[in-house]
Amino acid sequence: MSFRICATVLQDFNGRALQSYNFQTKRVLGCIKNVLFFLNAYKIDEIHLIVPLKGRGLDTSEILKELKDVPISTPLSIGGGINVESLTELIKDPYFERLIFNSPIFDDNQVIRNATLKMGRQAIVGYIPFILKKNTIKIYHSKINEFIQVSDKFWKNLNSMCNEIILLDADAEGSKKGFNFKALEFVNFPVDRVLISGGLTKLDINKAKEMKLAGVSLDNSTLHSEFSIKGLR
């Protein structure tokens, strides 16, 4: 598969798209349908739409279901709070190509098994925000809202469950200070199935191409200038 330029969009419970900075500060981007419409017009390869729960065990199925009427042709991956029950509802009328998971990777992969049975393993994406400090990588666990150290078993499970992962540099999110490529040394996952996100510059994108990563997922910047991705191809 060729190198992909994707975009990540966060959505809150009021149907608004959000921007996230340093994995902490949130800013309103605007009406989600308008955002998706323009990302589609900007010819993004894939949209990753995530409802950030951060420890709040809320049901996201209703807001995710509302997106099915958005008239876009760009492949859409959705994630955030998808559990066994909401998965059953969502896949009755799937308007998305892939499902993005975080918490179930750690402790309850029943929902991932069900999703794999229904949609195939190629539809499973792991969402892996990380922080890298003093040569130690910590991975974000949404259910407990913490970055935690993980064992080799985590990577092994991730490999068996997910076709691709989105590796988000949480410290650099929303900035242009550069993705921390050193993180890839600690990630036991085939690079050709890794999408990187957070702090991306044009140089980073070129480097990602050279390293033959699966692609990049731009964070807030896609809508900050007209047709911004054109120069990144």
Binding site: Y21, T25, R27, V28, N34, F38, H224, S225, E226, F227
Partner: protein
Amino acid sequence: MIQCIQCLDDIRHPMGQIIDDSGLCTGCLTHKEKDYIDWNEKWTQLEDKCQNIIKNSKAQYDCIVPLNADAEDYYIIENVLKLNLRPLLVYVNNYFGTDLSWRNLHNLETHFDLDLITFNPNISEYKEAVRTSLRKFNSIYWPYQAIKTAYPVRLALEIKIPLIIWGGLQATEQTGKFSHYDMVEMTGWSRIQHDLFCVDEKDFFGSGAQISDRNQYHYTYPLINQAKRVTGVYLSNYIRWDPWMQNQSTVKYGFKPENSIHTYDQYERAGSSVFYQIHDILRYKKYGYIKVRDHLSREIRHGRIIKSNAINLYNYYLNKDVDIESFFKWLGVTQSGYKLFCNTRLNFSMDKFNDDISLTKVEDEFSSSFFEKGVSSSKKFITYYKGI
């Protein structure tokens, strides 16, 4: 209602506002960035960016500057000239200007001796668009905003001007919707999100507006793969933006501030027949506040007024009388239609705004201020266009 612990903003702001766990809104949070940014470096970046954009241009003008006919225009022009750019000024007539607004616009043109294009939309169809905007979306500004944000881009494409220079990016300045580090530029997305409140042309004209196809063109943004040929930059990403202070400085160029009973800010939208009248009432109806709250939150962030004084002032202005009848007369609505609108759509008695709250002196509420001797408009809704 969740309100910011520092300013007067709450989460119902039309631009979109978030209050974080510490109780601060994104507007206050983003304002703090201004203290850490090297603005000299930003200015150099702007100079380089502009020169880079115009270097291959053969157009007679380097950039377009869209105007509002208020003080900010003067400040933008001052900076555009500092950048050694040759600007073409573009004014879209919204027909809401008072005599003061036209006087300030013409003074700008003659003082700086620059070329100005004024676009006058077909007035009967424009009024129909305003009626539709009011009927469908409880707003009178969609038609004006649509043309004001589309016409300069179309003109730039037509005469091959690669750059448009805007003043403050309201989304950042009011609610901190973007970080200053994001360096946000003009986009078709932003236009619909921020200027047209998420109603695109298709939604608007598909909702019963009787506007001819020929005139719909002026309300419509170019296709984005064409629009990308024009870069729109916002000066507030490159200059430490402080509207009250910078607007006062434009008096030296002959700008006349307006004394208003609806805000202490004598500069923003001075000479508008509607901005602090019907437009503000509709804002109040939809979002629960009037414009002066944005002004007061801004001054709290700049450290010129404390919150308790700002609340006093807000209540003072909240209770001022407003004239919305003249707008309905201009629009050609009958007296009974006007009353029906007040009773059913605004759903309040105009008497509510007649109670006066006394205040010794507005100036005393501020620790520092930028007041000037202002004037008043004497004629509203100056219909000034071709054939008159």
